[in-house]
């Protein structure tokens, strides 16, 4: 089982968290939505797997490159 880090490609605010630890996700499923530049920017699952942990909470400000979640594949 491999662990995959899901990082933010953008600075902004966590708007919605669409999954929780233990959820199974397909590749490109929306995990989290970030609000930045007045746009809703989805963070997609890079691969299919299971959500191991979510490391942010809604309304939390985040930086580009910040670790948001981990998946197990």
């Amino acid at each position: 089982m491999a662990s995959i880090d899901v990082k933010s490609e953008i600075t902004g605010t966590i708007w919605k968290i669409e999954v929780k630890a233990g959820d199974k996700v397909a590749e490109e499923d929306v995990l989290i939505i970030i609000e930045s530049m007045k746009m809703e920017i989805p963070v997609l699952a890079p691969e299919a797997g299971t959500v191991a942990e979510i490391l942010v909470k809604e309304e939390e400000p985040i930086k580009e490159g910040q670790l948001l979640a981990r998946l197990h594949t």
């Binding site: 490609e9 953008i10 746009m39 809703e40």
Partner: protein, 517 residues
């Protein structure tokens, strides 16, 4: 020597040269699923069209290597791609790692000179270990091996250059890949200034080759890879495809192809592409694909600077360069990598007489600490300057958002030859959500809270003011078009804006701009 003896000597030497680095090395490559240099050439060129130059060359820098350097490790010659001449150099790694030497340096120089003088593309198939050692060592080696050709790394964009990274690309193969207009990267290749071994010796840095210069690095971080493929065969096919969009030289228009049947069908789906909400994202490639000729889309640097999509395509059989904001990534907000990618693509298109089509949907340039430190202002102005120096036709279509300076960079005002907009377009200096704060927030805190009726009223007013009708009213947008008419509109506009007075040829004001940023 008798005619018979001459003939037999010719055959002996020819067979020896064609044997390259020997059976064992060739067998090893085959076992790894790699093509050798001659197989690559055969795959790249029209069948039977290769005319080799310098088959009988050998090392002239070191007499001891005369018999062990067939063709001196770099094959050169002329061939045809879709019936059009090209000049090419293919590194033969089985001969001294295709290291750079005196005779093979002369071969490269001759191919480049001929391609430039006679107006044909240059293809460089990269896989080389760098300077030949020990020939280049010492002051004598440097003086005799290097610097004899003052145009060695000069790029004036007279003709298209296509390159491939097909193995270890250190030294000249790395240089030519980044000097080229198109660089296809085969997975497993490594492109770097120096090898991991030298990094370890010089700076005590233990690096993994893939981490140093593998496909992910060049596709996602440096952007040096225009396209990533799995096999040598796909790499050769990609070069053929790239050149199919380009003219043979800068003084002619690109070739015109037939239009595939059914190319007009997809545009009917365009009204359904945009999401309901103005803050939601979508993949702009759906729009582009529905507009251009069927199967003609050839995206470049898809994994780098993803906020900006750059692609070659055809419209009505004619080559066009596509520049599009992609809201799917960072909401379409332009960042530094996106600017660099678009700038270099504008230079490519303008240098080879390719009209530019811009699809606009951007909330503006991305701002903040990170981008400022990555030289955002300079990158935005390089992009802007490039657009303003283009002399090929530039057509822009505003799909949705066009804000602030990005409005100008994406062809707003007279920065394109025609500006069209979908009825969904919203054009203003900044997003109304921010503008309410900026305009009224300092005098009254009610305008800093989006839940107040005052904020909402002002927001709706500003949002309405951003609709397309006022800018169409003052003629800074020339056409408001329903989405489904976009293809037909662009086909007609390409007709109108042909460079008739110069036979389809632009002025190439950026021909000496850098080949990478």
């Amino acid at each position: 020597m008798s005619a018979k003896a001459n003939s037999s000597e010719f055959e002996r030497r020819r067979a020896k040269a064609l044997a390259m680095g020997g059976e064992e090395k060739l067998a090893q490559r085959k076992a790894q699923g790699l093509l050798n240099a001659r197989e690559r050439i055969a795959r790249l060129l029209d069948e039977g069209s290769f005319l080799e130059s310098g088959l009988f060359a050998f090392s002239s820098g070191n007499p001891e290597d005369r018999d062990s350097t067939p063709a001196d490790g770099k094959l050169a010659g002329y061939g045809r791609i879709d019936g059009r001449e090209v000049a090419l150099v293919a590194n033969d790694f089985t001969v001294k790692g295709a290291s750079s030497s005196l005779s093979n340096g002369k071969k490269i120089a001759h191919m480049k000179r001929t391609a430039t003088l006679r107006g044909i593309p240059l293809v460089m198939l990269g896989e080389s270990s760098g300077a030949r050692m020990p020939d280049t060592m010492g002051a004598w080696g440097m003086g005799s091996m290097l610097g004899g050709d003052p145009t060695q790394y000069q790029r004036m964009r007279e003709t298209p250059w296509a390159a491939a990274a097909l193995g270890n690309c250190f030294g000249s193969s790395a240089w030519y890949c980044v000097l080229a207009d198109f660089n296809v990267f085969r997975k497993g290749a490594i492109l770097a200034v120096s090898s991991p071994r030298l990094c370890s010796l010089a700076i005590n840095e233990q690096v993994d080759s893939e981490e140093l210069g593998g496909w992910r690095v060049h596709a996602e971080v440096t952007g040096f890879a225009d396209l990533v493929v799995d096999t040598d065969e796909e790499a050769m096919d990609a070069i053929r495809r790239f050149l199919s969009y380009l003219p043979s030289h800068h003084n002619e228009a690109p070739p015109v192809s037939s239009v595939p049947k059914g190319s007009d069908d997809a545009a009917a789906a365009l009204p359904k592409v945009l999401p309901e909400s103005r803050t939601q994202v979508y993949d702009v490639r759906k729009v582009v694909r529905a507009v251009v000729d069927q199967d003609s889309l050839f995206e470049l640097r898809a994994r780098f600077g993803k906020v900006g999509m750059t692609a070659l395509a055809r419209l009505g059989g004619r080559t066009v360069g596509i520049v599009a904001n992609n809201p799917m990534f960072k909401g379409g907000a332009l960042d530094g990598d996106g600017c660099d990618k678009i700038t270099s693509f504008l230079v490519l298109c303008d240098s080879f007489n390719i009209p530019i089509i811009m699809f606009v949907d951007t909330p503006g340039f991305f701002i903040g600490l990170d981008v400022e430190r990555k030289r955002a202002a300079g990158k935005i102005m390089n992009f802007m300057n490039a657009l303003s120096l283009c002399t090929v036709p530039r057509l822009s279509v505003v799909l949705r958002k066009s804000y602030g300076q990005a409005y100008l960079n994406m062809g707003g005002g007279r920065n394109s030859d025609e500006v069209a907009a979908w009825p969904s377009a919203e054009i203003s200096f900044m997003d109304p959500m921010f503008a309410v704060h900026v305009v009224h927030g300092s005098r009254d805190e009610k305008y800093r809270d989006p839940s107040t009726p005052e904020f909402q009223r002002e927001f709706e007013q500003m949002r309405g003011d951003a609709e397309v009708w006022d800018i169409a009213g003052n003629y800074s947008v020339q056409h408001v078009i329903p989405p489904e008419d976009t293809r037909a509109y662009l086909l007609r506009m390409l007709e109108v804006h042909q460079l008739r007075l110069s036979g389809g040829v632009g002025q190439h004001l950026m021909r000496t701009w850098p080949t990478s940023y």
